[in-house]
Point group: C2
Chain length 181, copies 2
Amino acid sequence: MRRSELNHAKQRTADIFNQVGIRLTEEEASNIEIAWFGLNDLEKQGLELVTYVNSDRYCAKELVLFPRQTCPEHLHPPVGADPGKQETFRCRAGKVWLYVEGEATANIQAIVPEGSEPYYTVFHEIELNPGEQYTINPGIKHWFQGGPEGAVISEFSSTSRDENDIFTDPGIERMPTITED
Amino acid sequence: MRRSELNHAKQRTADIFNQVGIRLTEEEASNIEIAWFGLNDLEKQGLELVTYVNSDRYCAKELVLFPRQTCPEHLHPPVGADPGKQETFRCRAGKVWLYVEGEATANIQAIVPEGSEPYYTVFHEIELNPGEQYTINPGIKHWFQGGPEGAVISEFSSTSRDENDIFTDPGIERMPTITED
Ligand SMILES: [Zn+2]
Ligand SMILES: [Zn+2]
């Protein structure tokens, strides 16, 4: 992705935090992370986030999903002595549909990103509205999509090691390079 | 404390969360915890909280301090294999003054609760405004007070074991009994 597109997405994310009353320091706002997974279609598959703290014991992040934006299917494997990341998603604003392993829900509400259908394989749906949360255990495949108005989500978890995440789509790069423009 | 006073404080806390746009489920609102530390002077020394998640790996809570309300000085000791709770306080609304071990600040902004002066012994001041945060390592004594308008604080931490906290004031009970009325 081009630097100018990233900056645009950062500003849009900062505006959303502002609208829902989540305050960031200037430094945090300038460090908003845009995860586009190397797919070059941020609106469809991507995630915007601020990491508040990531110590060797716990992690807390604030996530933004644009309307119908999808964080692609992945899991958090064991890393050394760590059994893998356990994470709790708490919806703060908007709506999010979360999909995990288990019995597939008959008519899911999310729209699987077109062209990436083979890389979405778990369909047990959990709908989270503001104030609702769900905890995902290590090793469980999951993906999630913002509702029609998008979503803001607090993530509380054990230590985050994003570079170890395993995505179902082999074309995904968690840390792709930026094109300067 | 009497049940009726507790219920009043719970409702006041729920109203504050509502005002600052923090959404709770009905179950969470009905489980708001009022910590009065057995001191029977909640307005002066106390804390209101909701625990979102407390797994064997991490914990997240939302705290409320009424105006000038103080959470008394304490520390989090090692418990078995756990080196003690590490906690990050993130101010969401209002203002909080946090005091930790280290060089005493010349003119602290908080008012030490009258009559409890002997039980406040650390005075290195950190002021947190919305969007600002601070991480306290295990074993470090700390206390904190809400500003003139009170405060709402997110706490991200390792596993919480409140019953093991060590308070400087030997008269404090973390889990005192409620008087039915
Ligand atoms: Zn995940
Ligand atoms: Zn503490």
